[in-house]
Symmetry: C2
Amino acid sequence: MELYSDEYFMNEALKQAQIAFEEGEIPVGAVIVSKNRIIAKAYNQTERLNDVTAHAEMIAITSAANSLGGKYLNDCRLYVTLEPCTMCGGALFWSQIGEVFFAAADPKRGFRQSNPNILHPKTKIHEGILAAQAEELIHRFFEKLRK
Amino acid sequence: MELYSDEYFMNEALKQAQIAFEEGEIPVGAVIVSKNRIIAKAYNQTERLNDVTAHAEMIAITSAANSLGGKYLNDCRLYVTLEPCTMCGGALFWSQIGEVFFAAADPKRGFRQSNPNILHPKTKIHEGILAAQAEELIHRFFEKLRK
């Protein structure tokens, strides 16, 4: 079995963010990986679903639990293009997810602004993979909005 | 139009918690009120839906936005039988909900343990209505679990 890199999976999350961008949503995408396989893909759908809870990570957590048939994600890794917010950080805590990789930091609404210890103490956090690409997409989105 | 009291609405939230209890879920219930009318009722369904995000408040927020046709809940009041967790606190922040009433405090997993300022600065918070009843239900649930 080919072992995919963290960059590969983050690029898959970026593809999800690109779909959000094209649909007029704040472009954030996520994938959840179990045993080197993507078990959930999602992008932000707060506008389409008219629902503040429909962040990419929330949809991905629900979908991954569904795929696994169990609600805990200890053996899973989340790749998300933007630092999770407090809500998503709280959901990740409950999921006991094994690892979280995020691309761009969110100095305004990222969970670390509320409390850097929101995630489960066993969850490993990694920051910065493909951050430039994720930031560029978000920047482009808000530039387009302003026009 | 008869004006219902906060106790009336919290009692409706307790009825939702009772349904959760009967279904073997941690007994937490919530209602969301707009213009003196209940527009969403929900109870914790994390076991049934196999989903850590399926807290009463999350389901109620999604349902209320659906009912209103808009994702912001500025003119709404949430009544919930237990202090919201960090995830739900984060969701309530995004919803910009007008007021939050919770019955029992949750000194272990309540949002105030992460950061007491997680909710939106405009959201008014009220604590303690029917707290004894809400606590008794949760206490009874965990006693039953231990048996």
